[in-house]
Amino acid sequence: MASQIPVVDYLVLDADPHLVVNACVACGARFFDRRNACASCAGTEFRREPLGRSGKVRSFTIVHRAAPGVPTPYVSALVDLDGGMTVKSNIVNTDPTPEKVRLGMPVRLTTFVVDSDSRGVECVAFGFEPAN
């Protein structure tokens, strides 16, 4: 099997692929990026926390006109994960229509290969698919 690399460093590729955050030890605020300090309380101590793999669609848009090279239409969504934290990604494995994608729809995290580089390393991204 080709070696793989996650599309972003807050995606962990293991037996149960999931997202991780840097959580402020003082106030619990959660961040996807590396931190200088906490945006909520200015604390400087952080710990890694795994996030839930299922959630609900808090908002979405169906993109028809996109940046060059981006296939359309596709669905971008904000997903409220069970256990807390909102994440943005695509809704996949369903038709990109307002009939199929609904506000409040239960979804679960899924991963897929989006591209590979000159060495054959595969880039793995995450999206969300309908849970039912």
Binding site: I5, P6, V7, V8, D9, Y10, A29, R30, F31, F32, D33, R34, A39, S40, V57, R58, S59, F60, T61, I62, V63, H64, R65, A66, A67, P68, G69, V70, P71, P73, Y74, S76, A77, L78, G84, M85, T86, V87, K88, S89, N90, P98, L103, G104, V114, D115, D117, S118, R119, V121, C123, A125, F126, G127
Partner: protein, 401 residues
């Protein structure tokens, strides 16, 4: 009058696309227009705040002064996303407030051309491709379109759909009604980029850009400039009765940045930002939303305008859908919103927008808005948002003399 700061003069160019004029021509036209409107001279001005985004590192303010009068005054070249113009205005406001001078000039100017989707420029392709984590998220490739969208039509579509999720009676049709209204309003504004009315069916049936925003529900890229001359109350007292009569009081000038909220990690929270700025502005001005005779708010997309009815407390909490359904923000409604045509039809030259809305409200408060005049307008509010984020709100009141 002494403690207050006033708009003495204001001007805007027609918004549109200018092939035969550059950024400096547009900015100079607006500046000279505002000085003439205020009945003053560049020699009277003690500070110049110049707002521009696309050439923000290129001394735009100084280049404008080289056309209209190099008096040696301090120039502050300001860039603050789509709140750039309002931030330039507030720079002049603050200098007067601090007592450094008693008259200031603010110009907002932008030349955008027909640019298409902002931020969607082609990226260089490389023959050799090696995935390596980069940046604050350790990204190995461009994530636009892979991990959702960060381009403006989608970001503001998601902001609107979030509101639809949390509140009843909000959907594609309510968002489309916003665009129907603003395009209808623009017919009366000769300075608007577009002055064409569309039916609700035409708005909803137009090319889908980012659901639920169709082409008619997205602002165009536009060239244009707007300017204002600000004056202290003390200096205004020394000017003519006519200048005093036409002067418009700045009852509140507020600028903030986005406070931390849990969901703002992945989607800028334009709601908390606007609500906090608005509440502060109402408090400073001693004005309630019900006192407003007109509002010019930041309708970069139709979905954005709808949520700001709620954020600015123009409607009941959660009631923005119902409010547009009962025509609350139409020019003959409860609180007229974007009678200029708004960004959707007047156009959105990024740096100019935050002063163009002050021009619009000032013109109504003076009773000089011609066919689109809101009768007997006494109090108005302007609002802009720069994503990233900045929110600027000004409450303006007519002089009463």
């Amino acid at each position: 009058m002494s403690d207050d700061i006033w708009v003495l003069g204001t001007h805007m160019t027609k918004f549109g696309r200018y092939k035969d004029q550059d950024l400096i021509d547009l900015g100079a036209t607006a500046a000279m227009g505002a000085l003439a409107d205020g009945g003053v001279h560049i020699d009277d001005v003690g500070i110049f705040g110049c707002g521009n985004l696309n050439q923000s590192n290129a001394g735009v303010g100084q280049r404008i002064l080289k056309q209209i009068g190099q008096t040696g005054i301090p120039v502050y070249n300001v860039a603050n996303a789509c709140a750039t113009g309002a931030t330039a205005f507030r720079t002049a406001y603050l200098a007067i407030k601090a007592g450094e001078c008693d008259m200031g000039l603010a110009v907002g100017v932008e030349q955008m051309g027909k640019q298409g989707l902002l931020g969607a420029a082609n990226r260089a392709k490389r023959d050799e491709k090696v995935f390596e984590p980069n940046g604050r998220y350790g990204g190995v490739l461009q994530t636009e379109g892979v991990l959702g969208t960060g381009l403006m039509p989608g970001v503001f579509a998601q902001a609107g759909m979030e509101y639809a999720y949390e509140n009843d009676g909000v959907g594609f049709e309510q968002f489309a009604k916003v665009a129907q209204k603003n395009h209808a309003h623009s017919v009366l504004n000769p300075l608007a980029h577009y002055q064409k009315e569309f039916s609700l069916e035409e708005v909803m049936g137009a090319e889908m850009i980012s659901y639920p925003n169709t082409l008619m529900m997205c602002c165009p890229t536009t060239d244009g400039a707007a300017a204002a001359v600000l004056v202290s109350g003390e200096r205004l007292r020394t000017l003519s009765a006519e200048q005093q009569r036409r002067a418009v009081k700045i009852s509140a000038s507020v600028l903030n940045s986005d406070p931390w909220t849990p969901s703002s990690q992945v989607q800028p929270d334009v709601n908390t930002l606007t609500r906090q700025a608005a509440d502060r502005a109402y408090e400073l001005a001693g004005v309630s939303p019900k006192d407003l005779d007109l509002v010019e708010l930041h309708d970069c997309f139709a979905t954005a305008e709808l949520i700001h009815y709620d954020n600015l407390s123009l409607c009941e909490r959660g009631g923005a859908g119902e409010w547009i359904d009962k025509r609350g923000p139409w020019r003959d409604g409860e609180i007229p919103v974007n009678v200029s045509g708004g960004l959707l039809s007047k156009g959105h030259p990024l740096g100019a927008t935050g002063i163009a809305n002050i021009y619009e409200v000032t013109t109504h408060l003076r009773g000089e808005a011609g066919d689109r005049q809101i009768p007997d307008a006494k109090v108005g509010l302007t609002h802009v948002i720069g994503l990233g984020s900045a929110c600027a709100i000004h409450i303006l009141e007519r002089s009463g003399r």
